[in-house]
């Protein structure tokens, strides 16, 4: 059944279909790669993973070559090492030598390999055309000069996200990775998900660095600077400090943020709980209008709206779904709007003097906070967004020994949250959190799942579905008695595309759909520590569920701070005030953009 092979004289048996790379890893042999990405159609283009296979004239790329029965492989003899060295020399010869001033200094895969292979000189010199830096979007910065054309970004953009913004252009030595026929991302349709930045092995694609602006705000005595941290950060920030993926560092993160000088350390979780209450009521109101009032203008299924990458995707590719997407702002933006009104009033600070900083696993959040309509408090609701990676850098700059920091608690009131908010971090989480609340509103009883986990929508399957029949409703919700609620969950825009297409074609019907733009959800966001593999995703998700299960309060509507917010300020869910501060509307960017583009 298995195939018997030998790697560096170590005999082993592996299943058919195993690549040399995978087989080698099984016996603890590392083979360097620069273009390889787990689970994708790999191009086999960087060539640094070449190994010697007995009987073959040429060296073979380990990442894409499947083993055969009796294959004898050498992964590190002189011939192989020499070839790799020359390939590295070639790559370095056409790569700018700016390591010290590069965003990826010490986290660059090419630099690491150059170090591992003891490259002490680069004998080759090639004339390099200087290409302009692309700083045209709020979230992502590209330096095509640093690109080694590994095409990981192309693979995620085209295969996983199915957005197809990035692709190779021209050929040979002149090949560049570019957004279509334009040089700037800002001139193309890019949803800013940042998955490209998350997989780039070198400093060619990164998030826009906003740390200096945040430092400046922190130093400014006139400013009252508060910070919110997305739920996905606490399961990933540790990786910036070499802690294993899935280490929960919430307490240490709070301590670090306080030591950085933030006046209050709050939680986007608060915004998430708020989102669930608003969105849950919106879903119920849509169901009522549809089922009872037979209002044709009400659209179902309703899509979640937390993921700005998804919103960008929808506006650019499926603007016809604008009315299907929940009008709820994302938790980040709800938080900002509430902080600069309710909270600012409460502590007597002018909203103009308040700076709201978000720590997000996401590059699209940088885009979202800059959307012109996100100013419902009267000023920009959220001022700066930092990715997990940027926060890691700030903590290092501040000289904090993160690993050994004490565990501290979030500040009240906007730091108070429930377990339902934690699971916003991963795919299936928003759905589960919403169902926990909606079911209880309708029936007065707890969601009938073990540990409140809606297991069918958990895990890394691309598209997940669940059905829930509502029984024994409270009197107000009689119209839902016996109704089977059909829900679906998709993560990664490629999967979102599948679900959207099946709905538009009428192949599938749902009431409620959760979509997260990034694979695995926010824990796999474009701003998370590199490199997010499925193994890392699972570890982070596990940590998030652990956090949820450890909480006393696990349903958003039970959040005491939220109750207070409604009592003192908002009134009721979907009320006038929430409508003004917490809800938004969407644009048809597809047709608008088309027209603009043609004009160019």
């Amino acid at each position: 059944m298995g195939l018997k092979i030998e790697i560096n004289n170590i005999p082993l048996e592996v299943e058919k279909g195993t690549t040399i790379l995978q087989a080698a890893r099984k016996v603890g042999i590392n083979i360097p790669t620069l273009c390889y990405l787990e689970g994708l159609q790999n191009p086999g283009s960087c060539r640094v993973c070449v190994v010697e296979v007995e009987g073959a004239n040429a060296l073979q790329p380990a990442c894409v070559t499947e083993v055969n029965e009796g294959m004898k492989i050498r992964t590190n003899n002189k011939r192989v090492r020499n070839a790799r060295k020359i390939i590295l020399e070639l790559l370095l010869s056409s790569h700018p030598w700016e390591c010290n001033t590069c965003d990826r200094n010490q986290s660059c895969e090419l630099q690491t390999l150059a170090e591992e292979y003891g490259i002490r000189e680069v004998r080759f010199q090639s004339t390099q055309e200087k290409l302009p830096l692309d700083e045209s979007t709020p979230g992502i910065v590209r330096d095509p000069n640093k690109c080694i054309l590994c095409r990981r970004c192309v693979a995620v953009c085209q295969e996983i996200q199915k957005v197809g913004t990035l692709g190779p252009r021209y050929r040979g030595f002149h090949t560049v990775i570019s957004p279509g026929q334009v040089d700037l991302l800002g001139d193309a349709v890019c949803v800013q998900c940042g998955q490209c930045a998350a997989v780039c092995p070198v400093g060619a694609i990164s998030e826009r660095d906003d740390t200096e602006k945040v430092w400046e705000a922190l130093e400014d005595p006139q400013k009252y600077v508060i910070v919110q941290t997305a739920p996905a950060i606490r399961a990933a920030l540790g990786e910036c400090f070499n802690l294993p993926p899935g280490t929960l560092v919430k307490g240490r993160m709070v301590a670090a943020l306080r030591r950085l000088g933030f006046d209050k350390v709050f939680d986007t979780n608060f915004g998430a709980d708020l989102t669930i209450v608003e969105e849950g009521h919106e879903l119920l109101s849509r169901l009522k209008k549809k089922l009872v009032d037979e209002d044709k203008t009400v659209k179902l299924p309703m899509f979640t709206s937390c993921s700005p990458g998804w919103i960008n995707y929808m506006e650019n590719f499926y603007p016809e779904l604008r009315d299907n997407v929940s009008t709820c702002k994302s938790p980040q933006q709800m938080f900002g709007a509430v902080a600069k009104t309710y909270f600012a009033d409460e502590i007597g600070i002018r909203k103009e003097d308040m700076v709201v900083v978000s720590i997000m696993p996401c590059t699209a959040k940088k885009f979202e906070c800059n959307r012109p309509e996100m100013v419902d408090s009267g000023v920009q609701d959220v001022d700066y967004v930092l990715t997990t990676r940027e926060l890691g850098k700030m903590i290092k700059q501040a000289g904090l020994d993160f690993v050994n920091l004490p565990e501290e608690e979030m500040d009240a009131p906007l730091g108070i949250s429930t377990g339902a908010a934690d699971i916003f971090a991963n795919t299936g989480g928003v759905m589960e959190a919403a169902l926990r609340t909606v079911y209880e509103i309708v029936t007065g009883k707890e969601l009938p799942f073990e540990k409140l986990h809606v297991t069918p929508v958990q895990g890394l399957e691309g598209v997940k579905e669940a059905e829930l029949t509502i029984k024994e409703t409270l009197p107000d919700w009689k119209f839902l008695e016996g109704v089977t609620l059909k829900v679906a969950v998709a993560h990664g825009l490629g999967n979102a595309n599948k679900i959207v297409e099946s709905i538009l074609k009428g192949e599938r019907e749902y009431h409620f759909i959760e979509i997260m733009a990034c694979p695995g959800g926010c824990i796999g966001g474009g701003g998370q520590p590199r490199l997010t593999t499925d193994e890392v995703r699972k570890a982070r998700i596990q940590a998030i569920y652990k956090e949820d299960e450890g909480r006393k309060l696990r349903k958003s509507h039970e959040n005491p701070a939220l109750k207070e917010l409604y009592n003192e300020f908002l009134g009721q869910p979907l009320g006038e005030k929430s409508h003004q501060l917490l809800h938004t509307h969407y644009f048809d960017k597809k047709n608008k953009k088309e027209k603009e583009k043609v004009k160019v």
Binding site: T165, G167, G180, Q181, E594, K597
Partner: protein, 154 residues
């Protein structure tokens, strides 16, 4: 609208993309594929712009810059090279006062370098639009260009 018809002729199939691009380019008075046409094509064929651009820019016969009525493609491959292709290129460049990839100000000629045209037996060779010219010398180049100019002048 023309683009739409061409796509229709090829049943909108991805596998016919090169043929479609050829036709779009040939139909254009300036011998190139315009941005606008790529956007239209992208929408009709439902292929991302980056993909169409990436594909088209891979092939040397497609241009994204307006070109002249006559595209002079000078073979620069070794068989022509050893027979003096470089002097031919210089002769044309001098005669037309343009460099590689440029178009004369009257919009008549574009000068390009190309890989082997497969007419090596008559090296050094060039191709002007679909016509090939061989056994070239600097004098012959002058004659050919003068002839085209004369025809155009009529």
């Amino acid at each position: 609208m023309k683009v739409r018809e061409i796509v229709k002729k090829y049943k909108g199939k991805r596998e016919n993309l090169l043929q479609i691009l050829h036709e779009i380019q040939d139909l254009d008075a300036q011998n190139y594929i315009s941005q606008e046409n790529i956007f239209i094509l992208s929408e009709i064929m439902n292929i991302p712009v980056s993909d169409i651009t990436g594909t088209a820019s891979f092939y040397s016969m497609f241009s994204f810059q307006p070109r002249g009525k006559y595209i002079i493609r000078v073979c620069a491959s070794p068989p022509c090279h050893i027979m003096g292709a470089e002097t031919i290129f210089e002769a044309i460049s001098k005669e037309l006062k343009i460099n590689k990839g440029e178009t004369t100000s009257d919009g008549l000629f574009t000068l390009e370098e190309t890989s082997c045209l497969g007419i090596c037996a008559v090296a050094p060779a060039i191709m002007i639009n679909d016509t090939v010219y061989g056994y070239l010398t600097a004098e012959r180049i002058k004659e050919i260009i003068a002839q085209i100019r004369e025809e155009e002048g009529k």
